[in-house]
């Protein structure tokens, strides 16, 4: 039973990271209907920035918040400079995201080399009553971030304006909302949320340029499982994927670590075939 609880907690810790990245994906998707495949590499690069700051002697939390600010600005700049001017089909936007992904990956490898680096956690690596404190910290920070994002969108005028810009851009313009800047802000926020995910996962996975590859796939799966049109659903989907992944890896002996990504994805697709718009997503109805 102890093993079971431990696995659930480990699943929640890693699921929180998937949930953050899934939320970042959904934030951009809702505003522009684009899935940002570079989100994982953006988070990875942010984590390297945090690592540099910590190496330069900054205390952990100062580096943490400085990284959030830098990531936010970088997200806004990427949206304004690279994503905005693209005209063409949704697939050409996907190709631009893939271009961004390989650029960030390659730059990180060039600047910081491909060797793995250890990344500090705000908590010591020890267990209290069978619960790892670092995992607890990851869950805690994730929940705080998710709550802050929720509060921002629910209770602030700027959050309301951003939701309006995403849901109905034409009407939003008519009531005086600058839709273009709202999209850029959405990118900035998504980049900052992704940075949190990167800094939380780095102590566990150790930092290297490929760190976020499988994390992005799990986050994408989580976002779709919960329903890509629902931020809350994406968060729950992210946690669900994390728990599922850990339980499969532990209790299904044939699967082990090698095949668990595959098995998790097949299960998720099974759910999607039964419920094609995700657990909490709205079914899109089309007027003919």
């Amino acid at each position: 039973m102890d093993l079971f609880i431990q696995q659930i907690l480990a699943g929640l810790a890693v699921g929180g990271i998937y949930a953050s990245l899934a939320l970042a994906l959904v934030m951009i998707y809702q505003a522009t209907e684009h899935v940002n495949f570079a989100q994982g590499e953006m988070a990875m690069f942010s984590t390297y920035i945090a690592w540099s700051l910590i190496q330069a002697g900054f205390p952990y939390w100062a580096a943490f918040f400085a990284t959030l600010l830098i990531s936010f600005i970088a997200g806004v700049v990427i949206e304004r400079v690279i994503v905005r001017p693209i005209q063409g089909s949704i697939l050409s936007v996907v190709v631009v995201f893939i271009g961004l992904l390989v650029i960030l990956h390659s730059l990180a490898g060039w600047i910081y080399t491909y060797t793995q680096k250890s990344f500090p956690s705000p908590m010591p690596d020890m267990a209290v009553m069978g619960v790892n404190l670092q995992e607890l910290a990851a869950i805690g920070v994730t929940l705080v971030v998710l709550f802050l994002i929720f509060a921002f969108f629910r209770w602030t005028p700027l959050g309301l304006a951003m939701r309006a810009a995403a849901q109905n851009p034409e009407s939003a313009v008519l009531v005086g909302i600058h839709v273009g800047w709202m999209l850029a802000l959405g990118w900035g926020l998504a980049a900052a949320v992704g940075a949190v995910a990167g800094m939380m996962v780095a102590p566990k996975l150790t930092l290297d340029p490929s760190m976020m590859g499988s994390v992005l796939i799990y986050a994408f799966a989580g976002a779709l499982l919960g329903g890509i049109s629902s931020p809350g659903g994406a968060v729950i989907g992210g946690f669900a994927v994390g728990i599922l992944e850990n339980l499969i890896g532990t209790y299904v002996p044939v699967v082990g670590n090698e095949l668990k990504l595959t098995v998790a994805l097949i299960l998720i697709i099974g759910v999607l075939i039964v419920k094609p718009s995700g657990m909490f997503g709205q079914t899109v109805t089309v007027r003919v």
């Binding site: 063409g88 390659s106 799966a221 779709l224």
Partner: protein, 340 residues
Amino acid sequence: MPARAARPLLIAAGIMIALALPFLVSDYRTFQLTQVILYAIALCGLNLLMGFNGQVSLGHGAFYALGAYTAAILIDSFGFSPYLTVPVAGIVTFVAGYLFGIPALRLHGLYLALATLALALALPQLLRFDAFEPWTGGVQGIFIDKPDVPFGLPLTPDQWLYVYCLAIASVMFWLAANLVKGRIGRALIAIRDNPIASDAMGIDTARYKSLTFGISALYTGIAGALSAVVVNFVAPDSFDLFLSITLLVGVVVGGLASISGAIYGGAFIVYLPNIAEKISDAAPWAIYGLFLIALMFVMPDGVAGLLKRLTRRLRGPAPTPGRPLTALDILKTSPADRGD
């Protein structure tokens, strides 16, 4: 000269140049050109699915791998002739693609992208799986001998394989071009543009969509089978997620819904990494990414789209709106021009 009459001439000239190329360059260059042809076949198949039928696939590397392994296992374990593996690989990948296409009918857009992504991730792991090792060779993969040049032709093995692949590619491109021009092609495009309306018009949407998945997998699988023979080697690591993403990028860069676009896409896949490496040894993929983004800025509808726009400009302005269109005007322009 009217565009319609020029087209067969252009294609004939293209094939002549393609036939002459291997005799003008080194064996290594010929090998690279063969790779371009193979990717072009695969991209042609993927374009039938994505460009003409509007179904996204992030997992066509899996069908490429399936074709390659089918060929390699047939040669290695069952002593097949390399030439006989191509039709068998085609049948195997067609069935696999068709069967995958049936559950995929429930999924659209991003959800389909996730399902195909899972396919691309799963297949290399299955190929590595211990239980299949007697056939797949596990992590090590399978080595195959390069086939001899038949009939005592005065060619090097690389030149022979190039000519062989070029012949197959020509037939497959001809078939694809006819497919999209005909009744089935119109149905595919109608399903892409408006699935509900095409349903209402009596097109069996489900059948055509799964059939397209099968045909698309067949093209990609045949390219894979040929690649196993050309490269003499298959291993799980050659068919990772990156291959699938490369194929998707190739289709978009070449030009969606364009048969000739596959050739530009194939050249892009083979040559751009080399060019990027020459520009910067330290971070070649950063250069690759920059090229990719720049290409999408300059030609969002791919190389084929750019060429189409250029030729239209060269042909002069469309009939002025002041004068009503006559039947002659309509006859003079090709159907593709009238379409958009």
